[in-house]
Chain length 341, copies 2
């Protein structure tokens, strides 16, 4: 049994397909007599008609879908974001096509090309590296884009991120308040805006709070991963800086610290306090549970989707970027520094 088409509906209702189309489409229904519209609607219901979105897309060149480009869905950071995106998108009649790039820019190019071939009406990108030629191409082609998590200098690109600077400040104040003076920072990759912003905020906070300021206290990790975090802390410890607290670039990096501390029998928080960033799911279940800066991931996704829908509806809409407020979640991985001597 074939799936019913518009022509079938039209035939059953005794009208021309064009009329049926208008009757079924809310925006054009006023062009059709009420009775006729009702008749068509009944015919459609009787046949269980669903419009073929492929055919519609072909004609209207609007696909009703947007691409979501992330490094890796397996990173616990992203599922809540994607969920937020998806919920807002489907409420708006759109759907998300999710692709993973594994932070490989060649792969990213391919994926984006594939998405555009599939006629996505916009893109939400969570993989922006600073100065990414891909992004320039996208703005040149006037493809609606919203960045999440990371930002770039191009002011024409809207973005949704957490207010990282304030987040870092909250963390530093918390540690300083506990009495810490030598606070290290395991910074994230400097080819991401997040890595840069957090590092800059760290430096500023250290200065403002009058903490010990030394280049030895900063280690840059090349990836936002557990293993890089572990390597980072190892390097930091080798420098013998006497630091009593570590501000990790994000939770994954903090997890790496946990590994190293367990391995070396360093007591947390008694000997070394750790603060993470993101408040990923489950970090409250670690032992010690992780003190971290909470980022409202679901809202990040939801807000990004809203922004994108706005831009799709009206390409001339003003470019706005959203900075979501963060808050510090104090748990068990931070405490007063050990008494000196």
């Amino acid at each position: 049994m074939r799936v019913p088409t518009l022509r079938d509906v039209a035939e059953l209702a005794g009208v021309h397909p064009a009329t049926a189309s208008r009757a079924l489409n809310a925006a054009t229904r006023n062009l059709v007599n009420g009775d006729t519209a009702a008749r068509v609607a009944r015919a459609a219901a009787k046949l269980g008609y669903t419009p073929n979105p492929i055919a519609r897309s072909l004609k209207t060149s609007r696909s009703g879908s947007v691409g979501v480009v992330i490094p890796d869905l397996t990173n616990p950071l992203f599922p809540p974001i994607v969920r937020g995106i998806d919920d807002v998108l489907s409420a708006g009649g759109f759907n998300a096509l999710i692709v993973n790039t594994d932070n490989d820019s060649a792969r990213e190019d391919l994926q984006v090309a594939s998405l555009r071939a599939r006629q996505v009406e916009g893109l939400i990108i969570g993989t922006a590296r600073l100065d990414d030629p891909l992004l320039h191409r996208l703005v040149r082609d006037a493809c609606p884009v919203v960045l999440i998590n990371r930002r770039v200098d191009t002011p024409s690109l809207p973005s949704v991120t957490g207010d990282d600077a304030t987040g870092v400040d909250l963390a530093l104040r918390h540690l300083a308040g506990l009495g810490h003076r030598r606070i290290a920072h395991l910074a994230g990759p400097q080819w991401t805006s997040t890595g840069q912003v957090r590092l800059r905020a760290y430096r500023q906070g250290v200065a403002e709070l009058g903490l010990v300021d030394s280049p030895d206290l900063v280690v840059v990790c090349e990836q936002w991963t557990e293993s890089e975090g572990a390597a980072g802390l190892t390097r930091l410890l080798a420098r013998d800086t006497g630091c009593t607290a570590v501000l990790a670039g994000n939770d994954l990096v903090a997890l790496g610290c946990y590994d190293v501390m367990r391995e070396r029998n360093i007591a947390c928080p008694e000997t070394l306090s750790i603060v993470g960033f993101n408040d990923m799911p489950i970090v409250d279940k670690l032992r010690p549970s992780l003190t971290t800066v909470h980022v409202p991931h679901y809202q990040v996704g939801a807000e990004a989707a809203r922004l994108l829908l706005e831009r799709i509806a009206d390409a001339a809409a003003p470019v706005k970027s959203v900075l979501l407020p963060l808050r510090l979640v104090v748990r068990d991985s931070t405490a007063a520094p050990p008494p000196v001597g």
Copy 2:
């Protein structure tokens, strides 16, 4: 600047669009002269032509996409599965449309209808409840389907799952080997095959190993969630069964147990051993790290995608179900039972 179409390519190459189409399509390339084909290929490259998949789909009525139906992407179980699906699918030239149902069957119906309207060529379903009318409709309509994680009685439905029975057996033998005699089971929802299979395997294992067998030792959770797990353990403890180990229906349920144990100051594993199921990401980072049955989630997804692609390529292919081998990962949440008295 308009995006180039097949007609543009044809014009540049000086041939008819039909010829260009054949030249560009590997399967029909042998119908055109080698030189011509090369000329067309060059023209396409020069224009940066990419075929419009929408138009192609409309004509061929093959969309190149499959639907992936899961309860909630936010559940840490699913990202690896989805990743496995996506990797295999894209290697096969397909792409995944992911939808969340939140275990709401009305929503599931809607989502599946939407997917089918979008002409998906097949479905991977991770939300099957036993005796789901939706599944009957799908087999009736000859829509290629592969089930993951859960199974149903209908033998015409291929599925990919872990070998749960063996997994439960491994866990029980491990606990019995440590000396436990009263092992409780926080069973999962009995409207899922996984919940049923694991409970059945538990009963059989208890009998085979000669462990204490009592209905008091079984509590059924209504959802695979942390809160249900907590509620379950609370109920179990209220029964005062004297059990020394708990086999949780899955890791989320085990997490709920952790909450209760922490709250009540029950030492794990000294007083109560816990075994989970799934080996979700991060459970190795809990304190105590969780002993659990490892399910190869990525492979589950990959295998399901392979099966589905097979069925799509050949609807008459034999229906096979895959049972992936599991292994027990012993960590710190299990130990010998406390000495009696």
